[in-house]
Point group: C2
Chain length 150, copies 2
């Protein structure tokens, strides 16, 4: 697969993560969505549910990891790519590290809460990270959400 094909594929899956983020938005949750892809198939979809579940650990990535492991019947996601609309926080980066996810693709950066600043080595040491896929759409959803909250 050449670079353009890969980018198109990444955008295609990020759109699915954006659908999840939109679902979170409609529920009054911070609009972040994630999907886990394994062998060109989506094996888990999730969105942030912290308010609904009254649980700070219910981030999109955490739920996607748990759901994907359940689907695969093993706790390591070594053949998977996780797509998430916003840069993971240290908690989620740590979970991605434990699950040995080898490729993480995210949309918008999170300068205030992102793992890059606060936990740069939390991911698996060999993990490949692709950032900025559909960045504007991912970021716009967050902006719209917080504008509505003010």
């Amino acid at each position: 697969m050449d670079m353009n094909e890969q980018r198109l594929k990444d955008e295609q899956y990020m759109r699915k993560a954006l659908v999840e983020a939109g679902e979170a938005f409609r529920k009054g949750e911070i609009p972040i969505g994630a999907v886990v892809v394994c062998g060109d198939r989506i094996i888990a979809r999730a969105h942030n549910m912290t308010e609904t579940l009254c649980d700070v650990t219910a981030h999109a990535e955490m739920q996607a990891i748990t759901s994907a492991a359940d689907m695969l019947g093993g706790k390591y996601l070594t053949g998977c790519t996780l797509y998430v609309t916003v840069e993971p926080c240290p908690m989620c980066a740590g979970a991605l590290g434990w699950a040995q996810v080898p490729r993480i693709v995210y949309g918008a950066s999170d300068a205030k809460r992102g793992y890059k600043k606060y936990a740069p080595h939390a991911l698996h040491p060999k993990a490949v990270v692709v950032e900025g896929v559909l960045e504007e759409e991912c970021a716009q959803l967050m902006k719209d959400f917080f504008k509505g909250k003010r």
Copy 2:
């Protein structure tokens, strides 16, 4: 409460976390246990369940946080102390940060996987951390577990 009284109380609650860690040991899980204390009462007890649940996110602290929030009916644990037998990893430290846990007490350090090295700012900025409570007992349980695995 003077310093000695506080230390005795911390040891008393760490013993409860050790009971949880022992429970994990018996199940073949890495023996780490945690309790959450609120107003001098244990409101959550948990131990590592990653193997049983086939879920890398099922660390003792994560489950204790979720359970405590459920008990309190709110997702912030601002009046609580979390006791855990081993230094939290970046994932758990991130979760403790999101939950705004103001006081964390742990037993043994974890030089390889602990948050201090990999995510030193993941906890809430005002969180107080007490380390080394019943350190030897907490560390011994881990050593016994990994010795049995070799």
